[in-house]
């Protein structure tokens, strides 16, 4: 895929003068990214189920294709053959428009996402602002789906999702502010360019404030993407299926398509804004290598999100709103002011920044070592226990 992007990128640069050539090149780029998005969303739905199986000591899908990797295609085909029902008394136009808006809201973000350090479908200078605003379409789609279905479950589910998503959009936007202050730009290209290859040159380790901002961003993005522990809109036991109760067939698929693609968007934004993009130290960097590094970072974040889903129980709806309005939003304002003051201090005392970054890096390494050693001890203890139960001593 990266070779395709490279060639098309060359075409764009070569033929800027001719509008038709530029249009065709852009169309090809967007089609390629649409294909990538489809594969990612489908692949993630498969990976998530396999990871879930592994974590819960069961198998997961393993029948369709090698290791069940074609399961998502079978699911898609099955849903495509289902009858497309529109309930009585539904607002037919809004009912049909809702999945489209959810889909566009996520697909639109792929326009500004970086692909490594070298390639951008659109080097928009207000990239982050665009990303924040186009995701809002998802909220409108959910509200539309909930309202138009003429169903009580849908209405309540839609209202809850909308309340959750608009609330958590604020901490997401605010927690990106310290990084914008730091890099002085809203474009992904410059945000990545402002960071270095080594971990202590990444935005996340610049100061304690960006460090905490990263975690606020991650938590709030989880909630905005309706992921566990914040997946109240899909609280099956309370709301049946929430806003998509009345949807069937392909329209239903588009909602979940968007949701899984959104996982990758969260990972990619975290990787680009906080985790240093696709930079690689020791002069190993090229456009294709940086693409691979970037993918590795993004999919690592996605793996953590999946991991969290099978580890943590669900929040209660009031706890979730309290966490957002009374903890995350005030905290992210503190981070904003903190980072602004830090920048003023760094400007006077330049050496301070490297010291702070190195100290933060050391703390991260220590926590990582502690985590690994804990895991190893746990595994040892489990083995020991199992041996004793098996032998009966």
């Amino acid at each position: 895929m990266d070779i395709l992007i490279q060639t098309i990128g060359d075409i764009i640069n070569a033929d800027l003068g001719s509008p038709l050539a530029a249009f065709i090149a852009l169309l090809l780029v967007s089609l390629a990214i649409l294909g990538f998005m489809s594969l990612t969303a489908g692949g993630l739905s498969f990976i998530e189920r396999r990871v879930a199986g592994r974590m819960q000591s069961r198998i997961g899908p393993n029948r369709v294709g090698p290791q069940g990797i074609l399961q998502f295609m079978a699911d898609g085909l099955k849903c495509a053959q289902k009858e497309d029902l529109i309930p009585d008394g539904a607002d037919r136009l809004l009912f049909k428009l809702a999945p489209v808006l959810c889909f566009i809201g996520v697909f639109g973000t792929f326009a500004v996402l970086p692909w490594g350090n070298g390639f951008f479908a659109s080097e928009l200078n207000v990239g982050l602002l665009y990303l924040m605003s186009v995701t809002s379409l998802v909220v409108i789609g959910m509200l539309m789906a909930g309202w138009s279905s003429n169903n009580k479950w849908s209405l309540l589910g839609g209202m809850r999702s909308a309340a959750q998503m608009v609330s958590y959009e604020i901490p997401v936007a605010l927690s990106l502010l310290p990084v914008i202050l730091l890099c002085g730009s809203l474009s992904f290209k410059e945000l990545i360019g402002a960071q270095g290859a080594m971990p202590w040159d990444w935005n996340i380790l610049n100061s304690p404030f960006t460090f905490i901002s990263f975690f606020i961003f991650f938590l709030a993005a989880l909630a905005e993407g309706n992921r566990t522990p914040f997946d109240i809109p899909e609280g099956e036991s309370e709301l049946v299926a929430g806003y998509c109760t009345e949807y069937s067939g392909l329209r239903f698929v588009f909602f979940f398509f968007a949701e899984w693609a959104n996982l990758y968007v969260i990972g990619a934004v975290a990787a680009a804004v906080f985790l240093g993009g696709g930079h690689l130290p020791f002069g190993l960097e090229s456009d294709i290598v940086s693409l691979l590094v970037f993918f590795a970072k993004s999919f690592f974040m996605v793996f953590i999100i999946i991991w969290l889903r099978w580890t943590l129980p669900r929040f209660r709806v009031d706890q979730m709103m309290t966490l957002c309005w009374k903890t995350l939003i005030p905290l992210s304002f503190v981070m904003l002011f903190g980072q602004a003051i830090t920048l003023l201090i760094y400007h006077e005392l330049t050496f301070l920044q490297s010291i702070v970054s190195l100290v933060l890096f050391a703390i991260c390494v220590l926590v990582g070592v502690k985590f690994v050693s804990r895991v190893l001890v746990n595994i040892k203890e489990q083995k020991y226990k199992m041996m004793h139960t098996l032998t009966g001593s």
Partner: protein, 135 residues
């Protein structure tokens, strides 16, 4: 620059077209046999009772209001944050910081007010908590 915006327009149109084409194509292979029972809305297998669009709680409205206020603030503060570094470089860092602080401060006061009035409380009956504050 214009090419970047054109690219985004193409993305949005393509997203729209993808859903429509997908639905049109699969329309060829899926059945279409509507019946009165099938088009009933789902209410746990019972006959739907009353209209589907029931009254919902006022707190959703309040949340929406608060959201709009904060979102507008974010739209304004993003560009300011992007040029903050230039202000520091030109020696006017404290001035820019003070301006951001005043702008955000006004909003924070409003948020504190909403907090005090119980607008952020999810569980309690809103009318009761407002009356408590008033008396």
């Amino acid at each position: 620059m214009y090419l970047d915006f054109a690219s985004i327009a193409i993305f949005l149109v393509l997203g729209f077209a993808f859903v429509l084409i997908g639905l049109a194509v699969t329309g060829l292979i899926r059945p279409h046999r509507p019946s009165r029972l099938k088009s009933q809305t789902y209410e746990c297998g019972e006959k739907p009772e009353g209209p589907g669009r029931v009254q919902f709680n006022l707190r959703f409205y309040l949340i929406a209001f608060l959201f709009v206020i904060f979102d507008v603030e974010i739209v304004f503060i993003y560009p300011v944050a992007a040029v903050f570094k230039d202000f520091i470089a030109s020696g006017h860092g404290l001035l820019a910081f003070a301006e951001i602080a005043i702008f955000v401060g006004i909003l924070l006061v409003a948020m504190l007010y909403a907090w005090r009035m119980g607008a952020l409380r999810w569980m309690n009956d809103l009318s009761v908590s407002l009356k408590e504050k008033a008396s």
